[in-house]
Symmetry: C2
């Protein structure tokens, strides 16, 4: 594999591209359901607004653009009959989010198109001098913030949409089906978003690491080897709501104390494993009055690991521990799995082009670029069902993500844009 | 002290009174902010509706009635110039409440008036043949459900209203001051609700036990010796919200895990003491997303004990434990005390008249009536600042309270009405 640059763009051009990505991240951050924080969830008015902005930016590059049947915004450039290399990430956010997670990857993909595009032969438009078209995709739901089920947008594209999801409810009791209708989408047509394997040559995504490894190692970019497997559960602990003053300890069946023990058991059992993390992120106690013993607690569990088997073994151990805790306290518990994704391994070919892109971008190094696995989930987990997946990680200072302090350095974004463009060119030359 | 009945009412009359109390408890249960449960908080439309119903029932008995400057509904019968024996309880509820807590006491007080009233000399109205007037008070806020601070209604009557409370906020960000205005009350005039000691001869209250002791002992009624001291705190644990997948355990500062340990520490430390109960009833995790480590948790602590010193010693031990837990986890914590009430001891004279009322009501027994202390708070805790307090407890099956399954037997209500009427007569004869 060569490390000689294929891209001829001047450093100033790349720096300007990176500044545009940073400025657009700021612009998108202002599209929020909450004035004091960033909150942009699936099928919301904010989702519609950022899709319109993305469409404008795609058109400005000479791309043909459409919103697909699941609310993803797609832009395409190049031969209309050729298969496409898809490059993308997502524009939805968690609650009280940062401004780069997903978003930076979409905007970097647009800058790659800007760097690679050339006028069409007739001078009427733009194309790419590659043996495939490029499609930039802004996925509509990666985080699962609204309906508790992640990767809805990319699942539609991958053709793995599940009709059982239509009855998922948001916090206001709005079903996914109803939200589709209110957004102007037709639930009966969601299948039209699905792509066939022969329409695609692969999927590439640039993303901030959402972890501290590159920052700790002093590296700007890394090749992603795989995306962690993840399972998500909604758990309910049931006890009995009773008067806080009048009920002695021997008559209490306090759901909050059972759920507190459960949260600590998640930490204890997962942290004893090497590559497993488990997180209780949502936790609600009912009825939630100062002078009433909680009779019910609902909480979420997010479980991730490099390997499916290890992750499943941990869940089994947790379930046994919950039986024990709740039995001891006279409580009942139940769980519902709301998301399950196997570990997705990046395609060797695309790992190679991403590595080649990094080598062509950063100063010569004796070692190969860092290769890490992603504990965070990404749209590529869905795309793996329909095409090859490759990912480029950018350094994320202190690993702070899903938080307003989430950051990425403009210089690293510039490196990332160049590396991603090089990777696309390498994929085109098939010199890898 | 005599045990010979003073009340001449026939058993059928008392049974009819008890049936009316049960039916009115059902009627008030339908006045709720929530169609599926009982929820009636301070200064709400439901508060106004039950006050109107209570006013109607007071007028029907020939009582003069008014809503005081803090939204309490008062009815008075007897000599306009005489001091009053106040009998009452509250009409507000917790969330997802039962239908008897407080409410039964107000309705029983009205039945006592019905049993004791006699036509006035001129035949134009009704009075009571006692050396004092009777005032029935339906307190407007005992539970503190809406503003997190209990006993607001009775504090106004006791003259212990604190202007610091005006800025207390409900869950929708409405201040107590604003809620007063919206209810049609003038915050500047709340002092007018306060009563002077010379206007009152005492305060009597009948209430379900909200605990299992009478049920376990097979007793219908008890004399209350004292009302537990209580302190309530709002606690905040601060960590850092971060990505659930990307953040390894050694970089997490998970506020939920710290707060979970805190809730378990409350149970451990309180249950090691004889007469202390501590309850975490509210517990909210932020930002509350499935894939974000909670950066902040807010929770409530309700701490009760028979003696103030024991209760305060337990709080000090808890605070040291919280320092330890949060220090170990890299978290910060803070607390704000939102309610503090010292233990209130019932007046010996009123304990005696309540005991006399029970002895006159129930079959002869070799022992004195049961005497128990109340772990639950009551309006009498406030009234203790301005007059003597006495309380009668009714058996509460299985001690279930603050829960839709809360119950009381109609037969026990009949015993309670008779015992309360006897107690009032005894107080009038001053034969005790």
């Amino acid at each position: 594999m060569t490390a000689a640059p294929l891209l001829t763009a001047a450093p100033d051009t790349i720096a300007a591209a990176a500044r545009r990505v940073m400025a657009r991240c700021d612009e998108l951050a202002r599209v929020s359901a909450d004035a004091a924080s960033i909150e942009r969830v699936y099928l919301s008015p904010e989702h519609a607004r950022v899709n319109r902005l993305a469409a404008e930016w795609m058109r400005e590059l000479g791309m043909r653009t459409w919103q697909d049947a699941a609310g993803n915004r797609v832009g395409r450039i190049g031969d209309a009959a050729a298969p496409a290399l898809m490059i993308g990430s997502h524009l939805d956010t968690v609650l009280d989010a940062g401004r780069y997670d997903g978003i930076a990857g979409v905007l970097m993909a647009l800058e790659v198109v800007r760097l690679l595009r050339v006028p069409t032969a007739d001078g009427d438009g733009w194309t790419v001098p590659l043996p495939f078209a490029i499609e930039v995709v802004a996925f509509s739901d990666e985080e699962g913030t609204r309906f508790g089920r992640a990767l809805l947008g990319s699942s539609a594209v991958a053709g793995t949409w599940n009709d059982a999801w239509w009855t998922l409810m948001d916090a206001d009791g709005v079903s996914l089906r109803q939200a589709f209708l209110e957004f102007g989408l037709d639930p009966a047509r969601v299948g039209e978003a699905a792509r066939r394997p022969d329409e695609l040559v692969g999927y590439l995504e640039a993303h901030i690491e959402q972890g501290p490894e590159l920052d700790r190692a002093g590296e700007a970019l890394a090749v992603v080897s795989s995306i962690a497997s993840a399972r998500r559960f909604q758990l309910v602990v049931e006890g009995e709501a009773r008067h806080a003053g009048g009920t002695p300890y021997d008559m209490r069946r306090d759901a909050l104390l059972g759920a507190s023990e459960a949260a600590l058991a998640v930490e204890r059992i997962c942290s004893a494993e090497h590559h497993i993390v488990g997180t209780v992120g949502r936790f609600e106690a009912f009825p939630g009055a100062v002078n009433v013993i909680p009779g019910e607690v609902k909480f979420s569990l997010d479980l991730r690991g490099e390997f499916d088997g290890e992750r499943d073994r941990v869940w089994d151990a947790l379930a046994r521990e919950l039986d024990d805790i709740m039995g001891r306290r006279g409580l009942r518990w139940r769980s519902r799995e709301v998301h399950s994704a196997p570990a997705v391994f990046c395609a060797p070919l695309l790992q190679d082009v991403v590595a080649g892109g990094i080598r062509a971008t950063l100063p010569p190094r004796s070692e190969a670029p860092p290769v890490i696995f992603s504990r965070a989930g990404h749209d590529g987990m869905s795309l793996g069902a329909v095409t090859d997946v490759g990912m480029l990680f950018l350094r994320n200072p202190e690993g702070i993500s899903h938080h307003p302090d989430e950051s990425v350095a403009a210089g690293d974004v510039a490196h990332g844009i160049r590396a991603l463009a090089e990777a696309v060119l390498l994929r085109g030359t098939e010199r890898v």
